[in-house]
Symmetry: C2
Subunit: 344 residues, 2 copies
């Protein structure tokens, strides 16, 4: 099978591995009959699990890895001792061209370090950026960087915009995604110097991007733009703050509906609409982060995601592997020229 149609999966990463991973891959393969999977991990453990899944028959190859990356391992340890682990082998299959993308629910820092080492940075990218998918009033929005870097200068923000735009086209299926720069005021005088400089750059650089200017925090959930660009510190705080608010309100909503018998009856009647709301608030529907700016695709699934969440991360990996997003990024980086964003 063509490598673009093959995913490389770390079966041993995540809170409930390998069970959740196997279930997720099976769900993914049922929906995508054109694809196959390389499954890295403890063969003795995995073989019977795979054999029990009819959807996997003839489409999953188990590749033995005796060791795994643990959740408490530091990135530096993962680089020193990680060779031969299921995570390492999953990423290496992408590097070697045996798969179009890898998926792991394991240790984020370790996955970023191993992916950077194995897949290397794209030419013209100084710092890769981590993406997240954000449910909005209008659909879904991509936000980056959500924590790969602590700071970002103007040219890194411009690079993030280029990468995020191509990523949104590949994964959200939007032909021409809109891009906004996160700031604290819509007037041009506000905000960090880096943000204002990136703003001028994005307006003037002649990139093939639909750049819409500054947005503020509340515009993210409103779905004002398809791609929100920010530095890794701000993006990580925004993402986790948003998750926290959603979790608090979900908890309060449960309280409201279980307060007494009458409210319980009401909740039962309103169930149809509430199911949609729950589905919107369900993190497994938007699972999957990608470290953009590397020479290959490495998708991070949330460590606590369920089988459906893991299947979503696999879908994202497959969408990216089957798209032209890497060449689109390269084309826009070239538009800036080697004297611009590409060089530092």
């Amino acid at each position: 099978m063509h490598p673009k149609q093959t995913l490389s999966v770390d079966a041993m990463g995540g809170d409930d591995a390998p069970g959740i991973v196997i279930d997720g891959v099976a769900e993914f393969l049922s929906a995508r009959p054109d694809l196959s999977v390389l499954l890295h991990g403890d063969e003795a453990l995995l073989a019977p699990l795979v054999a029990a899944k009819p959807a996997m028959a003839g489409r999953v190859t188990v590749l033995h890895a005796a060791e795994k990356i643990t959740s408490d391992m530091k990135p530096s340890q993962a680089l020193r001792r990680g060779k031969g682990t299921s995570m390492w082998n999953a990423v290496e299959a992408v590097k070697d061209g045996r798969a179009g993308a890898s998926v792991s629910a394991g240790n984020t820092g370790a996955l970023m370090a191993i992916s950077m080492l194995a897949l290397r940075k794209m030419e013209g990218v100084h710092r890769p950026a981590m993406t997240a998918v954000w449910p909005t009033l209008r659909g879904r929005t991509i936000i980056l960087d959500v924590g790969a870097n602590v700071e970002a200068d103007a040219q890194q923000l411009v690079t993030f915009a280029i990468m995020g735009e191509a990523f949104a086209r590949a994964t959200l299926g939007i032909a021409r995604p809109t891009v906004g720069l996160l700031n604290i005021g819509s007037e041009e005088m506000k905000g960090h110097e880096e943000v204002r400089e990136a703003h001028e750059w994005l307006r003037a650089a002649g990139l093939n991007i639909d750049y819409r200017g500054f947005i503020e925090g509340d515009d993210i959930s409103a779905g004002e733009v398809d791609v929100v660009v920010t530095d890794g510190f701000t993006g990580n705080v925004a993402l986790k703050t948003g998750e926290g608010v959603a979790r608090m309100l979900a908890s309060r909503m449960r309280d409201a509906f279980t307060e007494n018998l009458v409210s319980k009856a009401g909740a039962a009647l309103a169930m149809g609409g509430l199911k949609k709301l729950r589905s919107l608030m369900d993190p497994s529907n938007v699972n999957g982060g990608v470290l953009l700016g590397l020479g290959g695709i490495s998708v991070k699934s949330h460590g606590g995601a369920d089988a459906r969440g893991f299947a979503r991360a696999c879908e994202m990996a497959a969408d990216l592997a089957g798209s032209d997003f890497q060449t689109e990024i390269a084309a826009n980086l070239a538009r800036i020229g080697t004297g611009g964003v590409a060089a530092e």
Copy 2:
């Protein structure tokens, strides 16, 4: 009446001034029979409105101001042309010792500029910080800075912690508020250098503060600490992002409940619990921001707040005016010593 028991109110600021302001002040005075109000604005407009409110009889003094600060005025314009406006006069009454605190729902930037000019910075405070109140799973949390400054170095973050802690005691009624520093990871190696430095400082400085270390974005809504300390860029993004998520979920919840007749009936039955949820999500319950670090108290009400929201901002101003929070801040700043946070 003692100035501490007198509030100075800008009657002309905010989207629906002066009507909302009059209603809010009346609601506030009904709940606080020990207090009185100086009301600044167009006397011809205000006098009949005040006369129509029995709660205001003998407790509200209308002070004529012919001009007002408009919402599109820049801070620099407000400083040049603002003298004699209702906002200016409201703040000046605090400076002159005629009132214990001022409240305005007008132009934020103008109010900050006028307040800084009139009330000046406290000794030892290099940059004032804007507060916001955040509803959490456990109650309410104070977050600062939410936008008075774009950046903050380590010693400014320490000053914010000192000011926020005293502010939380005065307004939340918590004897010993807990304080956390917003960061992107709980390991000590993560985050900006400024944040890590402030962390060491807060642990080592011998301040009379219950400092709990780093927190992450999702800890805010969980109510992990009573005071969240961060720079103005990050704080503003976090606040607006949280508001955006709450607004999106409220909108989706309305959709869920009005989808069909059955869900409408369910919503009607569950109404008791839902009312509590609505009240939690109602911004007027947590209205009122204060620019901390000045020589007097100037409270900003949200420009779109309703009468109850404005009344809440007045309550906050009265709580602060009646507390020792300014002297508590001065005491903790002195603990650092003039060679530490106080000097720059």
